[in-house]
Symmetry: C2
Subunit: 391 residues, 2 copies
């Protein structure tokens, strides 16, 4: 299939046939250009990243797992530079077209993977989610998407950013495909039993744009009916912005540590916004980092308390649908900060989160997320599949 | 002449014949890619700078003045990105070869101009000097070079950085050509009368590497003999590092103001070091800027006191010869900071400064600078010419 939406990295398209007879036979997938594919440069979304690095000899774990399950790799997709970005505008490789929201960003950093799946170029695609990089493009492109429990999916062969928050995730257009792919990558059957309690995180709905919260209500109601027992609760008693602040301190400090040696020796080129994020990461005081780490412990204990076995929580994945392409940083920076307020729990607490295409607002997709206990990834996928059947 | 040293911007080389019968007839020149040439993109050393900007319709004042004087333009030269850099390593266009110091940087930001003149590709070349961008490459490449009195040379058509420090300068290999070109650009005959008093700035010689200070001694002695009356004196009683700190506060604040709108709307790509300098410029506290401005007044009053009519001062242009190419930022940053300690007086006080090829250290060129009262530009050129005759 041609790539007329600019979702794939420039140059010849890699293709590797899936193993015959696997459970994902007949499916195609793409991999964000942070995942190693044997014999192919890992570009990392930055033209200076590959310099001086060996061509990978092995496929990343997630790539190999999909191939072994029978899916066919059809290309590598554009990412925000070394996964630093949440909107999907790459100054080197351009902005993949969001077919569900023309003229608007696809979301990032797994921009090309989300755009390619949304456009029907492939059935599923691998992304990474450190601070929202699967959840946000899933919401903006109207896709199913998962940020798995932190530490559950083997990240071998995936370009790291902030290891205590990094995860491998994936997208699909429909619930059935999402369940098939999830079962393969989670190495677990998708159960039929569902959780029995639903928490509606009222602080998060209050934080989203009013028309977003309103548009999601029918889906929240269907979800409540599906689960049975539903109640309202605050997710982050310390404040969504306080959790976001903690994540915005911990993640850049780790990202700077990850890339510091490369910056020093290679003085690589970045879009100004990306370089600025790294510089800011280098300047976060130790006192702030220490506090942020304590707040992370509070967030973890809160999420654990809220989410015993059998309970899930729902929230708007993003506070608004996809912003317009090409806006100034002074417009985009506050939007990014608001997005972080709804995504920070992922990096802080490491619970699995699934984005469900929740609604449209003025024709633009907006996602509803469900979060469960650590390790409940397959159950969240089961909820997404069961909810789809009630539509 | 071919450009096998990578001094010129990529693409077809612009050529404009000089006016027949002018005083610079027979000379060729190059212009740093910060100067407008009618019908040619001004690249600014950054691949995103030209985006959305009109092609210049007029030549920059300095370009037109050289053409009118009979010199022929043979190309536009590589510069550090938007003149932010002192070493001459451009992540987009590469590092022009310093033929006088193989394997070492040419110095910047007027890197290509200095390299082209040093290699004999042209007779003279235009540069800009905000914080040392003519003086440093002149020192590293063994050239004559001038940073004129601030405000003296019309900067129309020159890409600005920090307007209260920005100047237009130029290079030549020999004193006679340097005098011819200087006369045309200064619109003034080079006098025969010389100053009568020389100050040897002992703090600056003490700050340079010991072998640099020692290597320059014979030239300092010849200069003393030429001028007649010589004495030792401290240039910066508050400290060279204090003057440097003031310049390193004022210049980045102005540079950020110059480029802020472009950064916001264009999110352009930069080498990490350049983006970092801009980010740091955006973060300098107002209290620091206010202090730096007061220190600038002190530096101005000191230079005015030291340099009445008829007096010049000499100092090493740089503390060391050209560093090796391709070193990590953690090695280069402290070198850049030391260079600033010997260059800050230019931006702070605005006095004219001429670099004279002063000596070699282990075969590498090192410059001796002379500074005079504001407006004494032609007299400094006269000293350089007269000193050459004593060699």
């Amino acid at each position: 299939m041609t790539d007329d939406i600019g979702a794939f990295v420039p140059g010849p398209r890699v293709r590797i046939e899936g193993r015959a007879g696997g459970p994902l036979g007949g499916l195609t997938f793409a991999a964000k250009d942070l995942f190693d594919v044997a014999g192919v440069v890992t570009g990392g979304g930055n033209h200076d990243w590959p310099t001086g690095r060996p061509i990978p000899k092995k496929n990343a774990w997630a790539v190999q797992t999909l191939l072994d399950a029978g899916a066919t790799l059809i290309g590598k997709t554009i990412t925000d530079e070394v996964s630093l970005g949440i909107l999907g505008e790459n100054a080197f490789d351009g902005t993949p077209v969001n077919v569900r929201a023309p003229g608007r960003v696809p979301g990032g950093s797994s921009s090309g993977s989300a755009a390619a799946v949304a456009a029907g170029i492939c059935d599923t695609a691998l992304g990474t989610d450190t601070g929202g990089s699967v959840r946000v493009p899933a919401s903006f492109c109207g896709l199913y998407g998962i940020r798995p429990t932190h530490g559950r999916i083997d990240v071998t062969g995936m370009l790291p950013q902030a290891p205590t928050s990094d995860t491998t995730g994936w997208f699909a257009r429909d619930a059935a495909t999402f369940a098939r792919v999830s079962s393969a990558l989670l190495s677990e059957a998708i159960p039929t039993a569902l959780p029995t309690k639903l928490i509606v995180a009222v602080d998060t709905f209050g934080f989203a744009d009013a028309n977003v919260a309103e548009a999601l209500q029918p889906t929240v109601k269907r979800l409540g009916a599906l689960i049975g027992d539903s109640r309202e609760e605050i997710m982050a008693p310390q404040g969504l912005s306080v959790w976001a602040r903690a994540q915005r301190s911990l993640q850049p400090v780790e990202a700077y540590a990850t890339f510091k040696d490369w910056l020093d020796k290679g003085n690589p080129r970045f879009a100004f916004s990306v370089a600025k994020a790294l510089v800011m990461g280098s300047m976060i005081p130790e006192s702030e980092r220490v506090w942020a780490n304590l707040m992370r412990q509070e967030a973890r204990s809160r999420m654990k308390y809220l989410l015993p076995a059998g309970t899930i929580l729902c929230l708007p994945t993003t506070p608004f649908p996809a912003p317009l392409c090409g806006q100034p940083l002074s417009v985009l920076d506050p939007l990014r900060d608001r997005i972080t307020c709804l995504c920070a729990q992922g990096g802080l607490a490491g619970h699995p989160q699934v984005n469900i295409p929740g609604a449209t607002v003025d024709g633009l997709p907006i996602g509803l997320s469900i979060i469960g206990p650590r390790g409940s990834d397959a159950t969240l996928v089961a909820v997404a599949r069961a909810l789809d059947k009630t539509a």
